[in-house]
């Protein structure tokens, strides 16, 4: 196929056509960092609501999935931690945001199962805690495990460093985090990237997720690697006395 392979590069308009009310959406952000922020802005502007979100944390009110939570667009959240998002906490206690807390390793494996064709996984995590409520428990070689079921989404919204036009993507450093396995676990997978290169420029061992699982590549039009609001605030606070 080589360089003639179909381009997966799309416009924001084409990206936003994939989103509608009531969808289950996976967000690859980590406390709102490593996040597809331009597409999230687009989702906000389109007015998409009643979202069932899956994200490792609740982001922050001005970062990542937290921006959608902040304006009441998220109906439920499957996550591991919301400690950095007081808005998510308040909505949870008020009963307007339905939060399912999942241990972090189990969160990863449930999504991995969803993307890898597995019917679930057996984990010792949560045995003897409230996490085991309502779950099947199996004893394997004398040790107890919980059966945890796969997680999938209608759309996975991930963020990568580079893509080629065929939709092969590459991450930088901790940017892979949850983005790498979420890319397998949705009907439509959209990658927001900083840089676009030609097919062949990313070598076989530089590609983290291969083209066949990526449906759309959106290339950032704004700042390639913006510093997130949390860092700006922390830096201003740290350097406040020096100005």
């Amino acid at each position: 196929m080589g360089k003639s392979v179909r381009s997966k590069v799309v416009t924001m308009e084409e990206v936003l056509a994939k989103f509608e009310d009531g969808q289950t959406i996976m967000f690859g952000d980590w406390h709102g960092e490593l996040s597809a922020e331009e597409i999230i802005t687009g989702i906000l502007e389109k007015g998409v609501k009643d979202i069932h979100a899956i994200a490792v944390s609740g982001g922050m009110p001005d970062q990542g999935v937290g921006r959608l939570i902040n304006v009441n667009r998220v109906k439920s959240l499957a996550t591991t931690h919301i400690g950095l998002n007081p808005v998510a906490r308040d909505q949870m206690f008020a009963g307007t945001l339905d939060v399912e807390f999942i241990p972090q390793g189990t969160f990863a494996e449930r999504i991995r199962c969803g993307g890898a064709g597995l019917g679930g996984c057996l984990t010792p995590t949560g045995v003897g805690t409230d996490v085991e409520k309502g779950k099947q428990k199996l004893t394997i070689n004398g040790k107890e495990y919980l059966l945890e079921l796969p997680l999938r989404a209608d759309v996975a919204l991930i963020k990568a460093w580079k893509a080629d036009t065929a939709g092969n993507i590459a991450f930088r450093l901790t940017g892979r985090a949850t983005n790498s396995y979420m890319a397998f676990a949705a009907d439509t997978v959209i990658a927001e990237v900083e840089e676009l290169v030609e097919v062949g420029e990313l070598g076989p061992d530089e590609i983290d997720v291969a083209s066949p699982v990526i449906d759309m590549v959106y290339v950032r039009t704004g700042e390639k690697k913006p510093v997130c609001p949390m860092w700006k605030r922390a830096r201003e606070k740290a350097e406040g006395g020096k100005k």
Binding site: W30, T80, I82, P103, A108, V131, T174, Y181
Partner: protein
């Protein structure tokens, strides 16, 4: 060196559990203070749940890289020989028994080695993050905690009353007053902080415990 007290003493004592080359997860706050008290010749592989083996010191803001962050989303660095991985692999290290030790803070801990540190129903519910996986997969779970709550109530109980993070997983409990090892028959008082007696510990501890034949001094 001046005699350590309080949280510094806890961090210093916890740091003595580590051997050179150990792969260790330290929670935010007091547990992370352990790195300041590592014995001479002990270097660790610090793990960050997001997917770092060999976390280094916090970088300056000038050197902060938006693609290199720790579990709390703060700027991170990687030591020479360190590596990054995706988050599922990070928890394979944790759950798979590859991490030698974890130091965790807590709300409550009990004489059966149960730990409750993730929620107070109706009041505090940030989520368990990676704590339950650490409890399930790490060989040595050290609880580093104030001995009592501000109210004076013991945090070391006969039985945790809050929802558990892990059942029967705690191996050691270090407070500013003493060090308990968690054995098959319950807690064993192994060391006392300078100035404390066994009677002092009995007076401020709800849990039952036995006293080791030889009792050491925490440092």
């Amino acid at each position: 060196m001046a005699e350590l007290t309080g949280r510094a003493l806890i961090a210093s004592r916890c740091a003595k559990f580590f051997k050179d080359g150990d792969f260790v997860n330290l929670g935010i706050g007091l547990p992370l203070m352990c790195v300041n008290y590592l014995p001479e010749g002990v270097d660790l592989w610090l793990e960050a749940e997001i997917g770092i083996v060999g976390c280094g010191a916090s970088p300056s803001w000038e050197d902060a890289d938006p693609d290199l962050i720790d579990a709390g989303g703060q700027p991170a660095s990687v030591i020479p020989g360190g590596s990054v991985c995706d988050h599922a692999t990070s928890f394979a290290y944790i759950r798979g028994g590859h991490v030698d030790a974890a130091v965790l803070g807590t709300l409550q801990v009990d004489q059966e080695g149960n730990i409750a540190n993730w929620t107070i129903p109706g009041k505090l519910a940030p989520g368990m993050g990676g704590a339950m996986d650490l409890c399930a997969g790490v060989k040595k779970i050290v609880v580093a905690t104030d001995h009592c709550e501000k109210s004076g109530q013991s945090k070391i109980l006969k039985k945790c009353t809050l929802p558990l993070t892990g059942a029967g997983c705690v191996t050691d409990i270090v407070t500013e007053r003493c060090y308990f090892q968690v054995g098959p028959d319950g807690l064993v008082l192994r060391e006392l902080a300078p100035g404390y007696t066994v009677e002092d510990i009995r007076a401020c501890t709800e849990a039952d415990f036995t006293v080791a034949d030889e009792i050491g001094v925490m440092a």
